[in-house]
């Protein structure tokens, strides 16, 4: 099973308690594309490093039992 298939199967599992088990490494951020329309569900964060922001997002996502993938590589879930 490749990463994508594994990701789909993880996302479709309903009853298993899964959590994000690794940190989201953000090395380089893309520029906001030209003519890109931002969603309303967005915020601007000033004077903070992208890695810190990503870490806080992951911590919050963990608290809500989210599962998923970072930068198109499937995160290995942890059974709790």
């Amino acid at each position: 099973m490749d990463n994508n298939q594994e990701g789909v199967s993880l996302l479709s599992s309903k009853r298993r308690r899964l959590n994000i088990g690794s940190s989201w490494m953000v090395k380089e951020l893309p520029e906001m594309p030209y003519l890109y329309l931002k969603e309303k569900t967005s915020v601007v964060v000033l004077n903070d490093s992208p890695q810190h922001i990503a870490n806080r997002i992951v911590e919050s996502a963990k608290a809500m039992n989210c599962i998923g993938e970072y930068n198109s590589s499937t995160v290995s879930p942890l059974n709790r």
Binding site: D48, I57, A61, M64
Partner: protein, 303 residues
Amino acid sequence: MCGHSLTLCSILCFALKAKATLSVDGTEFCVQLFQVHTEKNNDCVIVELQRINGSSIVFHTVARSLLSASKNAKVLSTKETERHPTSSTRSRSSNRREGSNDRMKESDLFTCTLEIVDSLLKKDRVDANLLGVESLQLLTNTRSSSDAMVSYASNVVLNGGDFIDVRDTLISLLVNDEPAENEVEDKYHQKMRFCALNVLSNALDALSGKDEDNFGDKEWAGDDGLIATLFKEMKSAGSRPHEAYLAAKSLLTVFENSVRMRAVALELGISSAALQHNTIDGDDYPLLKNVSNDLLQVLGESK
């Protein structure tokens, strides 16, 4: 067409660099980070969440938490998150929710509520600003909120407390009566101003009789202060009777509770004679007339 293709290509090329696709309770969404270079500040990061599929309600509940977390704001705890149950866990979590609500301190709930109002008022969207003032209107009204909530919100409106920006926004809405550029803008300003007057009137009602003179000279006294503004509002009773009524009601509460403010009114030339001359004409508006008569009485006594 070419521009669209370029945009799509650039999104596809760059989005993978800092993108997380997450899922909770069958709702899938992605989180993307973008860098924005500005002249003043190079450390500006945009965090954007997009729903891919699943429930919008779940998405917005989660999005609010994640966006707060990304801004390093107060993150909803797990207990608080459970206050917004999803469809699959609704019945199961309802019992837990009751428990967590009991444990949750009332003051925390008040602070959270006012934080939401504060953030709505600070947004650069007119609908969000209006929602913020309307929420405050409900929070200062005893018909829609508990006495404790009304007291807390009224204190914020009059004294600021931890939310000084909320008070400043309200005062600027009342004091700055600049002419609008078009009809739509004018309607919006009128609605905001009406809500602000209502909030002030509610807040004064809630805190009246507490033997506290919380009326700062900076906001209330002076030619551009709230006393002068409210009196000016009363003069427009012909075109905006309800606004005039709310202004009169607010002035009455202030003068009944503060001898100092009555003196300020006299300094500004707001006497019973001036009131009679400018505001009361005819029996068209009984509510306004009653309040104005009371106001006349209070000002007459203070002479």
